[in-house]
Subunit: 131 residues, 2 copies
């Protein structure tokens, strides 16, 4: 139920119409149902999946990596060991991303704070991401 055309999906997810069709060609979005006249029809599930893909892209995951994440849910027949192998590397990667962002955040906030006290900031931002 609640069928929507590609334009509405685009607005709902803030993903460009052409990008949606590109994801379809790439097999990262499933082939949607079509209306009698060949127009694509989407449902709530597609909105969720596309939101997920879009946010992952914004977090620096490649389409290949996203395919890997989606495979966790697309096929329900992974063994326990496989799930572990797939999630462990991803959680490690995510933890690292969070840590890097946390450091950037810290330095930016500090910068703004110093600044508001009238001090000209010097240059700690770059070091913040250097291990």
């Amino acid at each position: 139920m609640n069928a929507i055309p590609i334009g509405k999906l685009s607005v709902a997810t803030d993903v460009n119409i052409e990008t949606i069709r590109y994801y379809e060609r790439e097999g990262i979005l499933p082939l949607p149902k079509r209306s009698e006249n060949g127009r694509r029809i989407y449902f709530e599930e597609d909105v969720r999946r596309l939101n997920f893909i879009h946010k992952c892209r914004g977090l620096g995951f490649s389409l290949k990596e996203i395919r890997g994440l989606l495979s966790l849910v697309d096929t329900g027949d992974f063994t326990c060991g496989e799930i572990h192998a797939l999630t462990i590397e991803h959680t490690r990667q995510i933890a690292e991303k969070i840590e890097n962002l946390r450091r950037m955040q810290e330095v930016l906030l500090e910068m703004a704070a110093h600044c508001s006290k009238g001090k000209v900031p010097d240059c700690p931002i770059i070091d913040s991401l250097y291990e």
Copy 2:
């Protein structure tokens, strides 16, 4: 001191040599000194800057956005108000990225935990990034 050639910079930062030259062409890395025979010479500062750029890219920032972040440190003549304007939007964006990653992390860990108890996971991962 401690001058290194492009190959060492590439190894030190895990950034492809061709990508380093590409960043130079794009003006995101400064034109380096050259040896007598025209070979690029880098220093510790370049390692830090390139590490920063590389990590930002891995966190989903575009080169344009990274240019904006670097401008905070490249020119020391921002006014306090400008620093605030630039940092506030960035910190908002970073907070959002952290929150999205945190949710993904939670769901992946939960998935692995359920799995290790022998339960077949169903499908919460996609919802985790759906507001």
